[in-house]
């Protein structure tokens, strides 16, 4: 696996405000990295630094082996970037705009036509190619922005909230496009929509108040999501203290008189012992359900945990 992006200890100050704090990560070919975070968490700042639009206050970025500061042209040649607002010259037609972008990125003259045709097909723009960008709907403008980012077939594609303003069908198309691109490129996308990460990414990073608080593969995240909580309903009120003595139980939450939530460690699953214990005590077991944590729960618990620290 070739490493396409290496970001080391990125820090960025806006005045005295530290927007990004010591963020390091790598991206390899064939990975789709989802960047998650609340508004103002530092997603866009990090992406702008990756694409050379902002200079980091400290830290180093290497793109496909080229240092972004020392060899900016070589590094940027391997980069396609869709900012949070698509950078479109609205007075041009789609075709003219893509031609201009192709020239800017130094696409070889004899392959310009093919490159534009391919980008248009991939983003579903063939039918609107001759229309002025200003007259296109927001969704189509977004697609032109994506087309612009993948036009020159860069190794690294950075997409800042690519599915904003798209309708559900378009979102599905763009997600499958991202997965497709992820096969032979490295893709980074930022979003605050959690399902999007689950659907299209292979890796997840959660950034909160400028700090990276989670860096996981999707599989690892899925494992985390299955952990930890059982919901139990009994006919009679259970004795919480006696339940707590069972091995593997970390805490018990009282939902109502007859309903409790048991949090347990990831490694041990005490469901069987709990059931036996309740039946033996004669409380009348009515329900025992594992609660699957949603991505939202993980996100919220991680960001909350962090705030408390």
């Amino acid at each position: 696996m070739t490493t396409l992006i290496e970001a080391e200890h990125l820090t960025r100050y806006y005045g005295t405000h530290r927007a990004v704090n010591d963020v390091s990560f790598t991206l390899a070919k064939g990975e789709v990295l989802g960047f998650l975070g609340a508004n103002g968490a530092g997603k866009t700042t990090t992406m702008q630094m990756l694409c050379g639009n902002l200079a980091p206050s400290a830290g180093q970025i290497t793109i496909n082996g080229f240092d972004l500061l020392d060899q900016p042209k070589a590094a940027k040649r391997n980069l396609g970037y869709l900012p949070d607002t698509p950078p479109l010259y609205k007075e041009l037609s789609v075709q003219e705009f893509l031609l201009y972008c192709a020239k800017l990125h130094g696409v070889a003259k004899n392959s310009v036509t093919d490159a534009i045709k391919q980008a248009k097909e991939r983003c579903g723009l063939s039918e609107v190619a001759d229309r002025l960008i200003v007259n296109l709907s927001k969704g189509f403008q977004q697609r032109v922005g994506i087309a612009q980012a993948i036009l020159h077939n860069p190794e690294v594609i950075v997409l800042d909230e690519p599915t904003v303003g798209l309708d559900p069908i378009q979102i599905r198309e763009i997600r499958s496009l991202i997965r497709e691109l992820g096969q032979d490129h490295g893709v980074i996308l930022s979003t605050h929509i959690l399902t999007e990460v689950q659907e299209s990414c292979s890796h997840v990073q959660i950034i909160h108040q400028g700090q990276l608080i989670l860096n996981e593969t999707i599989a690892g995240l899925n494992r985390q999501m299955n952990t930890g909580t059982l919901q139990i309903t009994t006919r009679l009120a259970p004795d919480i203290n006696s339940l707590l003595t069972l091995p593997g139980i970390s805490s018990i939450e009282n939902m109502s008189e007859n309903r409790i939530k048991i949090h347990h460690s990831v490694t041990a699953n005490p469901a069987e012992q709990i059931a036996e214990h309740i039946i033996a005590a004669g409380w009348g077991l009515q329900e025992l359900t594992p609660v699957k944590r949603s991505m939202e729960d993980i996100f919220i618990s991680l960001t909350k945990e962090h705030r408390e620290l």
Partner: protein, 252 residues
């Protein structure tokens, strides 16, 4: 180099996609044609008197310098309007990041923008030059002097454009850029008026005055002092523009 031309040609074409360039060209041509005709009128009334004077100013002297002088004043008003959007608008429309993340240096971006607007300026100068050239149908022109005037106007608008570009880099809003450009240009234009008013002339002000250098070249005296004044002027403001765009990445 080809990248500079790519940016320049888009800039030039975009000007003509909106009514902006067309309007400016039309109005400019109309006003200058009117001034040109008044100048011819003046020449025809003066002609009998001039014939009797030894070493009197000729056709070129009476028509060309006033025409180009007037063109310069009108361009002083027009250039800020043309240059105000160059970088400012890109920043506001967030299209600047397209240029910043493309494999371009800031030098390419600034020079591309500069050359693009200069293309329109060349067109304006060419259209202005056509008027005196039309006199060749029925008379003779001092072509050397005409050339000096063209050169003077070219250097002048190149300097105007360089300031305009710089102001567009530092201003947050196009109107601010236009106002600032206009203010600086007007100040440079009137800077040597002080020398006429008092006994104490300021040589520094005289040297800085853009009008004086322009008129020197216009008179047919192409000296390296005046030419290098303009070249220094242009280089300084282009270098400042490049610096300011570079700074864009560093702080916000």
């Amino acid at each position: 180099m080809s990248l500079i031309l790519t940016i320049a040609s888009r800039e030039f074409r975009t000007l003509f996609l909106s009514p902006m360039a067309w309007t400016i060209l039309a109005i400019l041509q109309f006003i200058l044609a009117f001034l040109f005709l008044t100048q011819i009128e003046a020449f025809t009334t003066l002609q009998p008197k001039l014939a009797s004077i030894e070493g009197a100013p000729g056709l070129t002297d009476i028509i060309v310098p006033p025409l180009f002088g007037n063109a310069a004043i009108i361009l002083l008003l027009v250039t800020p309007l043309l240059t105000m959007r160059l970088i400012c608008e890109e920043r506001r429309n967030k299209t600047l990041s397209l240029l910043l993340s493309a494999p371009l240096s800031t030098i390419d971006i600034i020079l591309g923008k500069y050359v693009g607007i200069l293309g329109l300026m060349l067109l304006i100068i060419a259209l202005t030059t056509l008027m005196p050239l039309s006199l060749l149908c029925g008379g003779e022109l001092d072509l050397g002097k005409l050339f000096a005037n063209i050169l003077a106007l070219l250097l002048l608008v190149s300097a105007f454009t360089a300031i305009g570009l710089f102001m567009s880099c530092i201003a947050g809003h196009p109107t601010v850029a236009a106002m600032a450009t206009f203010g600086v240009l007007l100040l440079l234009w009137i800077l040597d008026w002080t020398s006429g008013l008092t006994d104490q002339r300021s040589e520094l002000f005289e040297y800085l005055s853009i009008l004086r250098h322009f008129q020197n070249i216009q008179s047919g005296l192409i000296s390296s002092i005046d030419v290098s004044y303009f070249l220094l002027f242009i280089t300084t403001f282009i270098a400042l523009s490049i610096r300011s765009l570079d700074n864009e990445r560093l702080q916000k």
